[in-house]
């Protein structure tokens, strides 16, 4: 199977503070990896480096065969990112937001692709409404639509459930399952172990800037994720 993400001895420092300490990480094409860990473990920093929003202090990062930061534009073309902020413009309509990002990504004949994406996230009927009139859940669904617009190979989700109510979270589950079923490689950070257990095929525990433990869904067996998580953090 093809390696989609390859990280070797990644270190990130902010001044005197070291956030990531020689982290090694690999994801095969089509895997759905849940990156779990307590606050301050370095999950968001790690995802920002993968997204080329932050430069590593040391170490190697390769995504879809392209190296960061040298081939960042090629990496970004194959990457879709969803964070707890929707990265959308509230004074533009849903369609205008997607048109803007389609232009930024150089998507040709984007009208049909936008319709397809809006149908996927269930916002076709609201396409001409301003994003500022959307609920948090609708904004997050549109954010996923924005992230998959250019048909990326790799998707990064940073705490996508933050601030969502139960209905919106359940709807987001369906959209995430659709995204994963399309064969994309997914890395998602989350504090919600139950949701991660439901969605991911592999679980990596990040603690104090390094991967403390990793297990696949098949290997998890009867042990539930919570006990595995607690053991990994206690070690």
């Amino acid at each position: 199977m093809r390696k989609m993400i390859e990280v070797r001895k990644l270190t990130k420092r902010f001044g005197l503070k070291t956030v990531l300490r020689g982290l090694d990480f690999e994801v095969q094409a089509g895997e759905f990896v849940a990156l779990l860990g307590p606050n301050g473990a370095g999950k968001t920093t790690f995802l920002r480096i993968l997204a080329s929003l932050s430069r590593p202090s040391m170490g190697k990062v390769k995504i879809a065969g392209y190296e960061l930061p040298g081939q960042a534009a090629a990496v970004r073309a194959r990457l879709g990112v969803v964070s707890h902020l929707p990265l959308l413009y509230p004074d533009l309509t849903a369609q205008e937001n997607l048109e803007f990002y389609a232009r930024m990504y150089g998507i040709r004949h984007h009208a049909s692709r936008i319709t397809q994406v809006l149908e996927m996230v269930g916002l076709q009927a609201r396409r001409h409404d301003l994003v500022r009139t959307f609920s948090r859940g609708m904004q997050q669904r549109l954010a996923i639509g924005r992230a998959v617009l250019h048909d990326p190979d790799v998707m990064l989700f940073d705490e996508p459930y933050t601030g969502l109510d139960q209905d919106a979270s359940a709807m987001l589950d369906d959209v995430l399952k659709t995204v994963a079923a399309q064969g994309r490689t997914v890395v998602m950070t989350s504090h919600d172990l139950a949701r991660a257990e439901d969605l991911a095929t592999r679980f990596d525990i990040l603690s104090r800037g390094a991967i403390a433990a990793s297990i696949t869904r098949d290997s998890l067996g009867k042990d539930n994720l919570l006990s595995f998580y607690k053991q990994a953090l206690a070690a």
Binding site: A51, L53, R76, L85, L87, Y89, F100, R103, Y105, G106
Partner: protein
């Protein structure tokens, strides 16, 4: 798609997005405009001078107004992107990041020129001074280009700091001193009917400043916006 056309397409997309959003919200333009009109009104009452003296202070009053209003717009333009996380959305696009800078410069320049286009006739009425000399308008255009070129770069730095509202003027005014001085000198030269030879060095300085700072911003913007 070739790199040049993808670059230009991204520049146009960023500028279009800013203008379309501003057309709906009018947050930024209204703040800049109200501020500018208040400044020239305050100066009008503060400087109760004869017509000749008024003419001599015109360029200083105008550029003080443009500089403060411009700072207000520059700060807001990048702060809006940062607060909503949209700056990350822009940086995630697979384009040369200087395209984002140029798109922002175009929209910021458009906002500044719109405000100037409204302020100039109001100022002409209040101060009984004709400001519609082609030369003066060219100076205002060149000065505004220089101010937004350096201001957009510095506001993308300031927006990363916790004290961004006060940080931009602190960073911008010392760096923008050459553009402001040369714009004031060239403007007052046109208004006082000075000889072309007296105005030319200031115009040259303005053009050189515009070119140098645009080139610097083109080279360093990627490093400024990345963590």
């Amino acid at each position: 798609m070739n790199p040049r056309s993808s670059f230009l397409r991204a520049v146009a997309a960023v500028a279009w997005k800013d203008l379309a959003a501003e057309l709906r919200s009018r947050e930024l333009l209204s703040a800049m405009l109200v501020f500018s009109l208040l400044v020239i009104l305050i100066f009008n009452f503060a400087l109760e001078l004869d017509i000749a003296t008024r003419r001599s202070v015109t360029s200083g009053v105008l550029w003080t107004t443009f500089a403060f209003a411009g700072t207000l717009g520059l700060n807001r333009s990048l702060a809006v992107e940062k607060d909503r996380g949209c700056l990350d959305g822009l940086l995630l696009a697979p384009v040369d990041r200087s395209a984002i800078y140029f798109g922002k410069v175009i929209s910021n320049l458009a906002f500044m020129l719109i405000v100037e286009a409204i302020v100039l006739p109001v100022y002409s009425l209040l101060y009984n001074t004709n400001l519609f000399h082609p030369g003066l308008l060219a100076v205002i255009l060149l000065g505004s280009i220089g101010y937004t070129a350096v201001g957009t770069l510095l506001s993308s730095m300031a927006v990363q700091t916790r004290t961004r509202d006060v940080m931009l003027p602190i960073l911008l005014f010392p760096v923008a001193v050459p553009v402001l001085i040369s714009a004031v000198k060239a403007s007052s030269g046109y208004l006082s009917g000075a000889a072309w030879e007296e105005i030319l060095p200031w115009l040259n300085l303005l053009i050189a400043y515009d070119v140098i700072f645009t080139a610097i911003a083109f080279m360093v913007f990627d490093y400024v916006v990345e963590e």
